[in-house]
Amino acid sequence: MGVISELVKGLRVTGRQMFQPRVTIEYPKVFRDKPPRFHGRHVLNRYPDGMEKCIGCELCAGACPARCIYVRGQDNPADAPVSPGERFGFVYEINMLRCIFCALCVEACPTEAITMTHLFEMSTTNRSDAIYTKDELLMDVDGKVPHMFPDDALANLEELAVADGWLRATAPSGNAAYEGVAQWQGTPGSVDWDPEPDQETRDS
């Protein structure tokens, strides 16, 4: 009789599941809400005045465990500087086939030039299409981010305006009290985001 009761117990589990909500969704028709810290494709940001944030320091390339970032810096032209610093990112390429979306480049960047968005629809039919250059990565002066496949039926380009949230190790001033405080960036790019509400009081 033990067998029968165990069988009934098992049947009850599967029977109950019939009336539970489905956990799968019809993906291209329905989009699941992504968690705020979702790691999608990268974007290169600009300052509100249109200057590029990237200073061509190659720290992102050094931090990258997959070695998928290639950066070449160049001195800013004196009459028309591209970035506020001494140098700017002249070549910036990310091989999305190698990228593991760990966001170590985002952590390494001293100027918050490279951040991540919520877009992940990047499948290609061609290996060379997976190498994103500055043409695809760098947002324009209005903060709009280009995409490798703008007419991709699956890609919801609005996801490019959603930045991944990230955790500040410390406040910008280096105050250790800010360890673990979440800093959510509203949009990638040209908009300067607000500091933590009570940051100034806590920094002083």
């Binding site: 049947l11 029977g15 599941q17 489905r22």
Partner: protein, 368 residues
């Protein structure tokens, strides 16, 4: 026999065949939908409304697939095996009555392929024959995994065929004593006809309960029913007894080397067999097409028994799927232990007990 009789026979055979095909196409979809329900998935929903046409789409795709012939295959048996799987599967259903006989003019049309007077024997023969397909397919593929699947199929079929037969014998004997004419019958339409009415006609001693129960064999023969269901799951090679095609060990089992329509025929045969076994369980134990008629006449009275038959069959079919979604595959020694040490002795003891009961009911107690 004139032309009209011939046309009636042709019509009912065709109707049975078409019913079986349509129902099988639906059953594949129903199984996939129910499995997805039990696994919190959505399931097929692309082809046609709610994905009903998914099976048709799969079948069309398989039609256009290449049929691969392995180099080491025994070609004769390799080609023969899929047909050997499909033909007995269809023949098996031909003797099951799927509706009440009705009258047109002065002729009686019975809704079943043919009313064999040895129907039960025929079903046992056909379900044994289907094992040859699996064994032949496994052996003739010239590949080790199909061979292992084929060998397993032989042992499993022998083990569970016996239990299946024992449970059916008990039912046939019971129905022989409770029938109107008193004689036994292997005809399925006769077995169904003897299950109409209420249970107190056969068991008047317990009339306070039995007058509310239909005269189905499942109530007096509940143990035979359980043994039949377990053996039927094993006969159709369904989970948890699907060792013949255990994916994790044997790739696809006997049909590993098959592709295209040849594979589709094995697939078709499997689902036809599941439906036939469900229909057989409904016929032998749940009273077949018997059910309340609500005093209806004409076309409703002709269709209602078929509805009852399909409803009972689908209850059993649902159990098949529910069990598949619930139980993991048994180990091979567990399968053999269950077959030889539990089901066959259990079937024998039950047969003995019901024989005793039948004897006492007919001849009285020996000392009385």
């Amino acid at each position: 026999m004139d032309l009209i009789d011939f046309l009636i026979i042709l019509g009912r055979v065709l109707a049975t065949f078409v019913l079986l095909l349509v129902v099988t196409v639906l059953n594949v979809w129903i199984e996939r939908k129910l499995l997805s329900d039990m696994q919190n998935r959505i399931g097929p929903n692309r082809a046609g409304p709610f994905g009903v046409l998914q099976t048709v789409a799969d079948g069309l795709k398989l039609f256009f697939k290449e049929q691969i012939n392995p180099k080491k295959a025994e070609m004769g048996a390799f080609i023969l095996a899929p047909f050997l799987a499909v033909i007995p599967a269809f023949l098996l259903f031909m003797v099951i009555p799927w509706g009440a006989p009705f009258r047109i003019g002065e002729r009686t049309v019975s809704l079943q392929g043919t009313d064999l007077n040895i129907g039960v024997l025929f079903i046992l023969a056909m379900s044994s024959l289907a094992v040859y397909a699996v064994v032949l397919a496994g052996w003739s593929s010239g590949s080790k995994y199909p061979l292992l699947g084929g060998v397993r199929a032989t042992a499993q079929a022998i083990s569970y065929e016996a239990a299946l037969g024992l449970s059916i014998v008990a039912v046939v004997m019971w129905s022989a004593t409770s029938g109107g004419t008193g004689g036994g019958s292997l005809s399925l339409s006769e077995l169904v006809a003897r299950q109409s009415g209420t249970l107190d006609e056969v068991i008047p001693q317990l009339a306070f309960i039995t007058q509310f129960l239909p005269r189905w064999n499942v109530f007096p023969q509940i143990v035979a029913f359980v043994i039949f269901m377990v053996a039927a799951v094993a006969e159709t090679n369904r989970a948890p007894f699907d060792l013949v095609e255990a994916e994790q060990e044997l790739v696809g089992g006997f049909h590993t080397e098959y592709s295209g329509m040849r594979f589709a025929m094995f697939f078709l045969a499997e689902y036809v067999n599941i439906f036939s076994m469900s229909a057989l369980a409904a016929t032998l134990f749940l009273g077949g097409w018997n059910g309340p008629t609500f005093g209806s006449t004409g076309i409703v009275a002709a269709v209602l028994p078929t509805v009852w038959f399909l409803a009972k069959t689908y209850v059993i079919f649902f159990m098949f799927i529910w069990i598949r979604a619930t139980l993991p595959r048994m180990r091979y020694d567990q399968l053999m232990t269950l077959g030889w040490k539990r089901l066959i002795p259990g079937g024998l003891v039950w047969l003995l007990l019901s024989t005793l009961v039948i004897g006492v009911r007919r001849f009285g107690l020996p000392w009385a």
